[in-house]
């Protein structure tokens, strides 16, 4: 048995090294970002971004603290929109994916196609904009951040549908029906509890989409009180891009937020998810524990 333990240890060691390399490749650039947000502005422009800046400064964060109310508000909006949007997304996605996964549902191919087709054909921004603003009047309301595009997407539906078909045995569903359970009860009591990994996956994807989204704000919001954190960051970045390319910019002379401030906003846009994500990871624990049992 000692031999087995030794080779298992070597195996785990190699796994750790490789995964650690991947993790570092992801963390180091982010670390650079954080350091840049604490670097003095002139040093940043003069010497570029570096892991060892010659001069530190917390000016970027001072500026953010001054803008505190706006940033706080943007955080609030982002959290609210992400939470509500993701919850609704999961409900809609699961409910439409389930029938598509049932081999005994006669029209499943037709509706699979109907769902999937939306990934291929796109009417473009203008028709969507006209519909959402003229018909549903979501412009400058918080619904503008929730409804367009992100509330459900075909990708999530197909992932869930596949998971249901391959991981929820039909026998279980039949057994529930024999026991007298209706379809809804079967879905909520039998299918969903078995599908935690895919619910967590699609939920995560949806949460990240909502968190990162800035185009909905760009198109549908002019009222900056409704801006999400990404909208706030993007507004600054696009203002700067405008200045560097426009014929009008020679007339403008205004103090634009420095590089450090842009980095700082990017950092604070990422930190909450980093902090909260490990708590949601427990839905993966089941599988990860099983992996541990294996060892």
């Amino acid at each position: 048995m000692k031999g087995v333990k030794k080779s298992e240890f070597k195996y785990q060691f190699c796994l750790n090294i490789v995964l650690m390399l991947f993790a570092l490749a992801s963390i180091l650039p982010f670390l650079l970002l954080v350091i840049a947000s604490f670097t003095d502005e002139n040093t940043l422009i003069q010497g570029g971004y570096t892991f060892f800046p010659t001069k530190f400064s917390i000016n970027a964060y001072k500026y953010l603290i001054y803008q505190g109310p706006m940033i706080f508000r943007a955080y609030g909006i982002t959290f609210l929109v992400t939470f509500v949007g993701t919850s609704l997304n999961l409900i809609l996605t699961a409910m439409i994916a389930y029938p598509l996964s049932r081999k005994d549902f006669s029209k499943r191919n037709l509706f699979s196609f109907i769902v999937f087709f939306t990934m291929l054909f796109n009417g473009g921004l203008v028709p969507s904009y006209l519909m959402w603003t003229q018909f549903f009047h979501i412009k400058n309301t918080i619904f503008a951040l929730i409804f367009p595009n992100l509330l459900m997407n075909a990708f999530g539906v197909i992932l869930m549908k596949n998971y249901f078909s391959s991981n929820v045995p039909h026998e279980l569903i039949e057994a529930a029906e024999i026991d007298g359970a209706g379809e809804f009860t079967t879905f909520f009591r039998v299918v969903l509890p078995l599908s935690l990994p895919i619910l967590a996956t699609v939920g995560l994807m949806s949460a990240i989409s909502y968190w990162n989204d800035w185009t909905n704000g760009l198109y549908y919001l002019t009222d900056q009180r409704l801006f999400s954190l990404q909208n706030v960051l993007n507004r600054i970045l696009t203002d700067l891009q405008f200045l560097s390319s426009s014929t009008v910019s020679s007339q403008i002379h205004m103090d634009m937020p420095s590089t450090g401030i842009r980095m700082a906003i990017a950092v604070i846009g990422v930190v909450p998810i980093l902090v909260l994500y490990p708590f949601f990871q427990k839905y993966f624990v089941k599988g990860i524990t099983m992996g541990a049992v294996k060892g």
Binding site: S26, M95, I96, D104, I114, L120, N122
Partner: protein, 317 residues
């Protein structure tokens, strides 16, 4: 299950009624989702006609004159047409192939970790790039690739005795750079999707394989990969449907919109943006979207047809 064959007659009636109730329930389940995609996706599809209009705002979009195929011309008429098409397709193929291999590999590795704390840590870290805005990623890229202050030119290349390279002026490095950046950003998601599927596999299969003497590699090849096949096929087919669309942020922001790199970085989406920046012609941009949709659609139909022939179970529809 096998109870059904006791008394066929009575059971047939109840079975039929139950089946009808069940079908109705299925429709009810789908209703909210279907309403959403009707509103969000299908109604706006009606706007595809804009691609064929010469938009005159004084007449309004609906009453503007028809333009035939005029709005499509710019996508085919210049020598760039071949370049942008080639770039879009080749990059997406590379993303699909490398992204799939890497996603599966990392997903498997994560599932094999015995320390769940470390697995959590790795997974969170790898997800990190997904959360950073692409413009910021472009800045980070600039931190590495800037000609005079970049980390590569200033600190790393001199150690190997290589002269500084003008990264933003030389197209030949960019296919690799863009593929690496795209993989780096997307790995977090893709490994989670494969991980979720792997976690759904019954552990006892692995245990019995181990008892039979199968090594790790054998287990992966014979158990994990075949069971992942549906997921792989699905994801690949979805990607093929999007093969004519490019990630605008990746191809515009990361190369810092540098003209010298266009031969390697210009894709359909960036070409449309740059071409229409001055005139902002919505007919022409709608035509580009239409073109991309049609090609993607045809390719997916072909791919689905091929998959149906080989492995009917896993076709998308």
């Amino acid at each position: 299950m096998k109870v059904n064959n006791i008394k066929n007659n009575t059971l047939t009636v109840t079975t039929k009624k139950r089946k009808r109730k069940s079908e109705l329930a299925m429709y009810l389940f789908m209703l909210p989702g279907l309403i959403y995609i009707l509103v969000n996706n299908y109604i706006p599809m009606g706007g595809l006609f804009i691609a064929f209009k010469n938009v005159d705002y004084s007449k309004g979009i609906f009453h503007s004159d028809w333009a035939g195929l005029e709005n499509f011309k710019y996508l085919f008429s210049s020598s760039d047409a071949w370049i942008i098409t080639r770039n879009t397709i080749l990059y997406n193929l590379a993303f699909i192939i490398f992204g799939t291999i890497l996603g599966i590999a990392v997903g498997i590795m994560l599932s094999e970790m015995s320390s769940k704390l470390m697995a959590k840590f790795y997974q969170t870290s790898i997800l990190l790039p997904q959360l950073i805005s692409i413009i910021i990623i472009a800045y980070i890229g600039y931190a590495f690739l800037s000609a005079d202050t970049g980390l590569l030119n200033k600190s790393i290349l001199p150690k190997f005795g290589i002269d500084p390279i003008s990264w933003y002026s030389d197209p030949k490095y960019w296919p690799i750079i863009l593929i690496v950046v795209n993989l780096w950003k997307g790995l977090g998601f893709s490994c989670i999707i494969y991980l979720a599927s792997i976690l759904g596999i019954d552990r006892s299969i692995y245990e019995s394989a181990e008892i039979d003497g199968a090594g790790k590699w054998r287990q992966i090849v014979s158990i994990t990969l075949p069971l992942l096949k549906p997921t792989i096929i699905t994801l690949t087919m979805l990607a093929i449907g999007r093969i004519f669309y490019a990630d605008f942020g990746l191809f515009y922001q990361v190369p810092m919109n540098s003209g010298a790199l266009y031969n390697a970085t210009n894709v359909i989406d960036t070409y449309v943006y740059r071409g229409l920046l001055q005139t902002n012609d919505i007919g022409m941009s709608s035509a580009a979207g239409f073109y991309q949709s049609v090609v993607g659609f045809v390719l997916v139909l072909l791919a689905n047809f091929a998959v149906t022939k080989l492995d009917k179970e896993n076709a998308l529809f």
